[in-house]
Symmetry: D2
Subunit: 281 residues, 4 copies
């Protein structure tokens, strides 16, 4: 878990000699105290990754500009802001992921500001209201996908979220929409991707006769169910699991996997690279 009042610096840069020494030296000389440090080098790609959690009163701009001078061309630096991350949740009608997030949020497990919950149906409105939160209906009924997505986009733009959670939001988002919130949309898919992309993965799993089922939390990209994976997990099943039973047991997997991915993002433990993720657990 994250220390109170600590800040987190994520670095992705071309690999070169002495990087850890240079970065930690910069922090040390500015009076920061490193609480937690993790590094990884992708040798085939010659790329260095680092997550540093530190405390101490540092000048943010000075730190970033000094690091930029130290690090190779093409470095990507990301320092956590002082405010809590702003999170929006989109749902359709299934309650298990949303319910799980609402309970965790209510009892302080997730260090975030929940800025809004919207659904394309009203099934979960009462649940959200019972948690004393506003629910926004952005209906898909009786109108075009474009119209609905435009309203959704305006809604989200007004919330200015750092992250949008698709907690069983069962509508496909347009490439334009996805591009606008690039690397900011986290989805939960009910299969161990890349197996069973697309619709009805439990039915596909049943028909293939698999002996494990899975769930995958991944970033949404323009290619359906092909974005970078953050968390995956599976459970064993057998021939007695019909699609309904797969669905029932899969729900527990989905909510745990989604919550775990969200926690990793809130704690800034994830760095994108190509279509993969570096996850400093």
């Amino acid at each position: 878990m994250k220390e109170i009042n600590s800040r987190i610096l994520l670095i992705r840069c071309p690999d070169s000699s002495g990087l850890i020494y240079k970065i930690t030296g910069c922090l040390f000389q500015m009076g920061a105290n490193i609480v937690n440090n993790q590094e990884f080098v992708d040798y085939p790609a010659s790329t260095f990754f680092m997550r540093t959690e530190f405390t101490g009163p540092i000048d943010e701009n000075m730190l970033l500009s000094q690091l930029k001078n130290l690090l190779p061309e093409g470095s990507d630096l990301n320092l956590s802001p002082l405010r809590k991350p702003r999170i929006a949740i989109l749902v359709t009608k299934e309650a298990h992921c949303l319910g799980d997030l609402l309970i965790r949020h209510r009892f302080g497990e997730l260090d975030m500001e929940l800025v809004g919950v919207a659904g394309n149906r009203s099934d979960l409105e009462d649940l959200v209201n019972d948690f004393h939160l506003p629910f926004t209906l952005i209906s898909t009924e009786d109108r075009s996908r474009e119209e609905q997505e435009k309203e959704l986009e305006e809604y989200l733009t007004s919330l200015d979220p750092d992250l949008i959670i698709l907690a069983k939001y069962m509508r496909i988002l347009s490439p334009e929409f996805v591009r606008k919130w690039d690397k900011k949309i986290l989805n939960i898919h009910h299969s161990f991707l890349p197996a069973f992309k697309g619709a009805r993965p439990y039915m596909q799993a049943y028909e293939r006769g698999v002996k494990v089922i899975g769930a995958t939390a991944h970033f949404v990209t323009e290619n359906l169910d092909e974005g970078p994976i953050v968390v995956q997990d599976v459970i064993p099943v057998d021939h007695s699991y019909d699609p309904d039973r797969l669905f029932l047991f899969g729900r527990d997997l989905e909510k745990i996997v989604l919550a775990k991915a969200l926690r990793l993002l809130l704690e800034r433990r994830v760095i994108h690279f190509k279509n993969r993720t570096i996850v400093f657990e």
Copy 2:
């Protein structure tokens, strides 16, 4: 585990009323003592499955003919023979699955007769010989696939195996070959199928950035890596697993999954149905 001297009856038939009563009654009246009984009904397919392990001196032909009279048209009955199953193993150059099976066989864990080990390369000849077993080289070098497969077919025909284990045999078998040994060829594939079919699954897994890898023991059919699955298992991985490390950790998974599937088949716990398996563990 199977009782000593017990026999196992596998039944697959159209579902109808009173099946368990009728079958167990037939066994009871012939003096059989049921040691273990398991049933399953696939309701969408209206099909009944049963595995009965029993002891007692029964007349095999009489049992089967009485059951045929009792059961609906289209029933499939399968009674274990008195002799041990005859198993052949095919390999290429990777030792982990073969080595694991040889150790298990040597120390009596697998209730089978190991009738032969053949390879399309000679890499594992010494290992097999050190276990005091003959190794047959059926080389793929300097000749056509057809020629090699013909020799392999003659070799296997002479062994008359009940089951052929592909313990990392890295050659694709022709549809004719597969048809000849229908439902008798068990393969180990190093991914959680249906993800990463075909060649180099660990490289595919690495490039997709998955957070679990798997292994699948499945029957070989004419469609590559699409036959009925018997056992699957997975292990968690992270960004630090390059293809070599996936390969290293995957080996442990592969050998355990293959051995588990083989044990299930030796204990006659598997019934085929469509492209799936009913596994009475």
Copy 3:
């Protein structure tokens, strides 16, 4: 999952020849249709167990009396009533297990009547009320354990529950109390029992340096944390998990394990035997 309108017969009796034949015959002749059947024989204890789910309009008393005549002396028969099981939940201050059960109950995943939620503190009162359910405070403050337990007993007696769920109820119940609700109290303990019985299991786990932590749903008996186990599961941990982090990750395990055990009990899949459980999944 249970079929709608089906009933479930649980049998535990001394093993003898032809039991499956006799029991299924009795059901068949009374016009019942077996939907699902599972058996198990504990050979060292020479005891037979069976779970039969059936449909069809049968005379309950006639079925039970006919079965009693058929079965050996000492048989234990248990037929599910037509009404839903009555469930009471006891809590203290941790929200994760209760919250998970409330969400599941609200959206119809648990086939039960939730007859009451009580706590020895009021921390979770608002949560329960927000789910439109009454919360009863049976405080442990400023009075003796005996007094508090007496009130709790009266409360539960008035509810007449089939099952009492200790969803992180952190008070030890007296032997008299436990005896009164024999085999009707299900607890969730945050370790893989029998390791780390008693208080503060995560701290114990941390100090022992284990590499897996677990959760155990078990029946409460007079001996603390020694009752029959229904469900256990574990997650891997490493040296970086301090007690707080074990606690955080353990919560997810606890709620899933407790909910799974409750579902098994609601579907009448559990038979007690000695200090163990037969679980027909």
Copy 4:
């Protein structure tokens, strides 16, 4: 996996400010190239741990003396030697762990020199010989435990092993013996410790009715089954697993857990601390 020709530095020292900066600076200035770096701070114990894998021609004595000057009083430095670790294996009669290690060793998976295999019985002599390795019988028959242990100690002393693997060696070693090879004896115990210490853990597990069984690789200390844990893993079981079946399935777990722990030690990924281990995977 370890890079070829790399060396590994393990550090355990009192936590203080700027440690990573100072250590990596020392390596950088001596011309070492860090291939892999991992750190951990145990805050309650105010202790810092680091594993650094580096390449480059450095003067070993100079590196260690410079680091000692840099680091706080009470630091513990450990640099991998250039030669391969020398490993001795002790067995009794069970073949699965030894067989697994022999296969791995034969095919180059374990980067070690296997200096000897000894047993207190001769059951596994043929297996070892078939792998073209000498087997030493140090019998427990017809003599005192002291006498046998004395011979064993002489045998091991002559081998000068870096690590002694108890691959199902079923004799308890005396405190004097254990002290002599302090932190150099790795044992595999067939339960998830601390549950089921001592004799016959599978029988204990059966009688307790657990729903998972485990295996634990741990260092041997004077207190039986209480040494620091390196690796643990579990598998799910149910009521149908009698002790024989637990034993059968447990074997697969034991061999995988032991091999995994050995690999971690060969790659110098384990640092002792109190009765725990820091494992940099």
